[in-house]
Symmetry: D2
Amino acid sequence: MYAYTLGGRAAIGTVRPGEILRVSTQDCFGGLVRGPQDLPSQVCPLPFVNPVTGPFHVEGARPGDTLALHFAAITPARDWGVSATVPHFGALTSTDRTASLQPPLEERVWVYDIDTAAGLVHFRATRGDQAVALPLDPMHGTVGVAPAGFEVRSTLTCDSHGGNLDTPEIRAGATLYLGVNVDGALFSLGDGHARQGEGEACGTAVETAMETTLVVDLIPNTATPWPRIETDSYLISVGVARPLEDAYRIAHADMTRWIGELTGLEQLDAYQLLSQAGTAPAGNVVDPNYTMLAKIAKRWLPGPAAAYAGTHARLRSIAAAG
Amino acid sequence: MYAYTLGGRAAIGTVRPGEILRVSTQDCFGGLVRGPQDLPSQVCPLPFVNPVTGPFHVEGARPGDTLALHFAAITPARDWGVSATVPHFGALTSTDRTASLQPPLEERVWVYDIDTAAGLVHFRATRGDQAVALPLDPMHGTVGVAPAGFEVRSTLTCDSHGGNLDTPEIRAGATLYLGVNVDGALFSLGDGHARQGEGEACGTAVETAMETTLVVDLIPNTATPWPRIETDSYLISVGVARPLEDAYRIAHADMTRWIGELTGLEQLDAYQLLSQAGTAPAGNVVDPNYTMLAKIAKRWLPGPAAAYAGTHARLRSIAAAG
Amino acid sequence: MYAYTLGGRAAIGTVRPGEILRVSTQDCFGGLVRGPQDLPSQVCPLPFVNPVTGPFHVEGARPGDTLALHFAAITPARDWGVSATVPHFGALTSTDRTASLQPPLEERVWVYDIDTAAGLVHFRATRGDQAVALPLDPMHGTVGVAPAGFEVRSTLTCDSHGGNLDTPEIRAGATLYLGVNVDGALFSLGDGHARQGEGEACGTAVETAMETTLVVDLIPNTATPWPRIETDSYLISVGVARPLEDAYRIAHADMTRWIGELTGLEQLDAYQLLSQAGTAPAGNVVDPNYTMLAKIAKRWLPGPAAAYAGTHARLRSIAAAG
Amino acid sequence: MYAYTLGGRAAIGTVRPGEILRVSTQDCFGGLVRGPQDLPSQVCPLPFVNPVTGPFHVEGARPGDTLALHFAAITPARDWGVSATVPHFGALTSTDRTASLQPPLEERVWVYDIDTAAGLVHFRATRGDQAVALPLDPMHGTVGVAPAGFEVRSTLTCDSHGGNLDTPEIRAGATLYLGVNVDGALFSLGDGHARQGEGEACGTAVETAMETTLVVDLIPNTATPWPRIETDSYLISVGVARPLEDAYRIAHADMTRWIGELTGLEQLDAYQLLSQAGTAPAGNVVDPNYTMLAKIAKRWLPGPAAAYAGTHARLRSIAAAG
């Protein structure tokens, strides 16, 4: 029922452009980490981690098109979530790639209460009695299409096809744009987070199952080389690479092009405007590829800037009507 | 009158802890780039770039202390600023270090009108008639103390002693904490920006001269290994390194320690909380060392968390009274 | 007939452990670049680049085993080879990942005469009359098994499953060890180079078709986490990652473990010996993942060190007898 | 008597171009680590580590010239050397920059017997009875001039002014070329290694005091932007940066230019030749800046290639006569 790759799987459903899709997703541990005793390295047999729901076949999608996924709603399916340190995984530990001879940090599980009505996620210390309520901010860590070049990629990683991007910007109200590589696009999603800090430092967010409502659309004959996100107020390009400065470079080169297309600004003028008006938050600094964002407020772009011919506004209307 | 290094210079003035200091700073081009015809590579003779005002000797400062600089006001001294692309410098070009065989991008200057009353900075395209008003958000790109280990460092770079950090978080209302390495601390500042995007992609911000009011203080016998910033609402650690993920790691390891000290959270609990509650914006991705921030809202730390024994609040009061 | 991925393909043949296999491989351009007028970006339609021959099913291979491929002979199948600069690909240019706004370097093709009898490869300048004869040193840039975790990877990249490692150490006389991830191992090879500099700076070597003789073997119940190479005189671990220091770290952490297993040296003793006795050449610094090697002379290991129970010597004997 | 910086110190002696200079250097620990009980973090008070002998003022040296240092002899001054793991320093551990929350590896000292007559260095395990004799291969880890731009840099780091390059290529028989930044050049040297592996993985080599004979020369009005090394058989460019691929890029861009100047090869032809004929060993992957080399055999350059107008051959003659 769940997939552990993007690509390499038959579609589990079909969607028509403009259609609303409701999807249930499991958490990145497949629901197997439920308390402090459930250490991920013991209860989650590799490679069966980070399950995604899908893939879905989008009618008419062809390589060279762009898939638009508008997130109308992302709602926790449970009143709890978990996070964990996992041996040799995370930003503040040596890893399988940033290899060292040091032993791993302790593996430990944190359980969070999720109060959807109050909009809160409750952190509680494991070695003390400190507690704090953080805002609930549900998002999907993993959304992607089948890769190009006959590739099949683990849901643990990300690249130009999306995947485990792990940026909090993929929340309700956002539209994600992904270039289509194969007929039908074959997109999947999962890895719900009740909330996540930028960088996802310890390697996992507040992981939980989600009920998600999407509006799916297709922009024909329009390539999107790297993932992009649009909200009511912002345009975002997502760079995916190591080292982290390459992710920054990808995102900012893509955003420079995007600004140029939307505003008519010549290349260096667009670069200049982005340099003064853009923000650059980290997505993840823990997965096999890191993510870094180039983000700019639409109100700071000269002239009317309707990305992808107004797709975001249109999908938002469908969501509101739906 | 201006210095081009941190360290290696005699003090131009002395400040007592708790005192208010008013400083005038020149822009990073020494005021020599005034219009499109003033190409930086032609008018700014190396190494006379990025002048700082200072150093100032802080009475009683000893290695192992922490210097606190509260920015009470940062006001543009001119009604214009400039930005520029500089050959083989910036994030979206090969550089002297990320070396390639490609010719440089075109060198070009942008002139901005700064309207301090309206709080606006006016971007105008150089190859078209597009224009947009951005919020004025004055800050200092370069603030630092004399380095440790007898070193003298160019104001073009940054490290644990501060320097060319180039993060927009050093604005009015913020307190910057820097570890003291030599008697008197010997701090300097310059490189005012009317505003700057995160990452400073093209290599320069909206560069302008500034009139700045500081409250200077000293926290004795308290080490601060990497630069930290405090505002009314946030705590920020600044990581300084290449590649960019190392800057992220430094900042987040430092913030994990800082949270632990302030809240009593055990190390992995602090790591966990930061992972879910922190943000991670880029500072600069263009200087010899990059900067990346770990930032957390004070309201998301359990318990009363008065950093450095309430120094920020105290300096804010002095500034308000001053 | 050719494959463009590792994984995702049915076997084209079966080999028994201990068997000799003769394989013909095409060059990385599929033989379509034959002269200065054949620009790769025009004549090589993506993703049909870097064809490999295979996969071959190894009888009895199971996940957790190690595949040993001894290269008995690698002989150019043609008397010419080609190299090329390809737009936005290579070490001394911005790329799709180390993105910049600069135009690409000129795309150009170099044709080399290969004189197998004399053991020479003839470089000739394209913009002058300089020429020089370099030693023929045939090798395979791409050798790999099907990846773990249901993945299918392009032959343009490399990872722990091998792939486009692009190190000159995979020459005749060497034994390559790869961990088996799927039943039958499903290995493939291609990308012959008449010779290659370390790092493969311009992105391509002296590319040519090859006739290759392999002895294939299996070491059951022995994991090999990263590619390893053994020659009569050397042990080599291959790290695969970005940034390049992570590739160095992987290779040296793996070699530290390997030395420990072979000599009984405690971990830090092995680390110390490697630190003084090892060499660390680059493999490639151009592909989606870079490679860096940890290499140590067997004569500098204390005691008899027969890796993989003497597999290399045994395969060498089979090759000599074959 | 010893200096801990490059720059910032008065000359301790003067040398005329063409003159032979004999220099005694202490080891990187200042001779304070003599056995297993002398842990560096306890016996070496920061910043008094890595002492260099110098600086020496070269008569007539001016910014824009190149300093040539020919190493006629490098001889251990003692019959023992030491190596050590140092907390949070080295390639296979988290460090102050590649920060993690993991505890450091154990600090430990290895003592080596140096047998100069036999040309051997004796490794002995500390947790077992294994031993092995490695070839003696004396070199200097640290050689540099005063930096540009009024900077003073710790001898622990390296940059375009040289410094702690930590490459085994600076051995007897080699000529090191460094660009002159200040009047008199003000060069220093130290950090002798009885031998060193490429990358200096554990952070220290076989550290020992040295007696060194240099021939000093000056090439007027000739800039050398990054350190270069020449031997009878090889030309080497040294790239200095993080991440390690930037060090590779610097070295290979510099070597491409150098080959072009020496042979008349057009830029892309030089890039091509280097791509097929060059080797790329690591220098160090542990210091604040990493080093990576571009190395090419002189016999593979078309035409007579006398670098710096035959300086190396000339200095070699002086050394032989001396």
